[in-house]
Symmetry: C2
Subunit: 327 residues, 2 copies
Amino acid sequence: MSEFDLIAALRERLESSPPGARVRLGMGDDAAVTVPEGATATTVDAIVEGIHFERATAPPRSIGHKALATALSDLAATGAKSGEAYIVLGVPSGLGTDESLEIYEGIAALAERTGTAVLGGDVTRSDNMFLAVTAVGHLSSADAAVPRAGARPGDAVLVTGALGGAAAGYELLRERGVPDPPEADELRRRHLEPLPRLAEGAALARCGASAMIDISDGLGADAIHVSRSSGVELSIELDAVPVEAGVAAVAGSLGTDPLALATERGEDYELLACIDPEKVPEAVAALEQMGTPLTRIGTAAPGSGVVLREANGRVREPRGFDQLSQS
Amino acid sequence: MSEFDLIAALRERLESSPPGARVRLGMGDDAAVTVPEGATATTVDAIVEGIHFERATAPPRSIGHKALATALSDLAATGAKSGEAYIVLGVPSGLGTDESLEIYEGIAALAERTGTAVLGGDVTRSDNMFLAVTAVGHLSSADAAVPRAGARPGDAVLVTGALGGAAAGYELLRERGVPDPPEADELRRRHLEPLPRLAEGAALARCGASAMIDISDGLGADAIHVSRSSGVELSIELDAVPVEAGVAAVAGSLGTDPLALATERGEDYELLACIDPEKVPEAVAALEQMGTPLTRIGTAAPGSGVVLREANGRVREPRGFDQLSQS
């Protein structure tokens, strides 16, 4: 199949994605033309075979899903509504047309679910497979965007959902003899097909969140990003951190601490938000309507850095995923 | 150097790029936030080591330049003004920090020259180096965008600048014993650091171009894209095609036809435009002010397909660059 034929086939798969009210020129032109209103949030994210996923453990459909999900998660962290996406696919010679199309099926399904119009892309040969996704979201105004830099001393530190599921799912997928807990399928799904917290991010923005980030590098590492950008200390009580069901069982089998899976490994794509404590009840109620727990895990204070405090008062060093340090 | 440190270093290099009047949140947040006016044109383009460039022949600076240039060239083809760019860099383990930074110097220099704000990106390990660039341009309205699909029977077919320079430059860079013509440095630059025709694209749009495309795959292949999208035949007189100075000498050394380099090889990043013949003089005058030749090479007619006609009346088959067909 030639490049043009493959692109045509991939385009066909994506034409089912919702066209988007803002779209004037879509796929097949040199550039897509849209008419945005208010402000626009744009993010790019790449996932690479051997670094972010292994084809042995990740079905093609989930590779496509995850590539789009990680980009949409960045939009969620600013409070934006998802609008459009652009996909670059690097295809190794060993990847069949069917697998390429399955990758795009995963993208198209999540695009549909999140109201995202896939408007363009590029397909190229590459030694290892990669996907680079650009996601464009929309905000009523630039002031509506929640930055990393807005946390103030006294703000409550909150986290959506529960953590550790993606890391536990990854360990189960590696098939190193860890027995399946009852939640095993859900844990694997957390790793393979995370769902970006778009509605939750928008609700937290409406409720007045001062700073937000998605937990992609690990709770500790992402808290450091907020702390540095905002110029505050974030103090987190580890026994308040919500740990996903089944994570403790997997951690037990591995002989490790569930909190290490929940705070040091990342890829949960939950949101970490800072917010005036008076606004917490409203935010909790708003997310409850979506069926998503919102848990207070700490407080912002004058100073710098991140303190992860155990129930016994001992302080842990924040750790996170930093791929270029890995050998 | 860790991922975070490398990103910080790369970010520093790019902070010199013009911030852009529309930008509210720039680098370092989960997503960049801008306030567009009118309509937005968005394109993504990837270049991969071993497919689009070889590190043996392409200095890191030119790799960065070319990655951004190819994306901006797509904006030029819609008539948009360049606004913002987002860069994904896949870094092989053999690539040093200095080389990574030089790549970004090439991006930053072209960004500055074209008034493009580099607002975000992602850096990841990868077996082979790749760069994926998202470029966002701005238009006064969606109607101002020139599509591929607007060519009408009777339109003149025009091309900016001259063709074949990039292919000739590539042959010189391969060092297969082709002697340098006097224009050798310029030909190599055409291959390594093409300049997107942004001002020319905007002028052609203002002058009423009905269809436009940038010549990345080769004149014949790109003419086919316009022909298919517009539902017209494009008839091109090969002896009217402007061939870059020095191309004939390189073609002679290779024992090939200069017109093959000019029409079958691509990467010249000139613009192919269709326009009402009555508007041609105004368009030629507008581009003359920029020092850019605009040459009529053919005519759109009812029908389909692309006819490349030699001076003797013989018709050539259009050929172009189709990477996935290459073994």
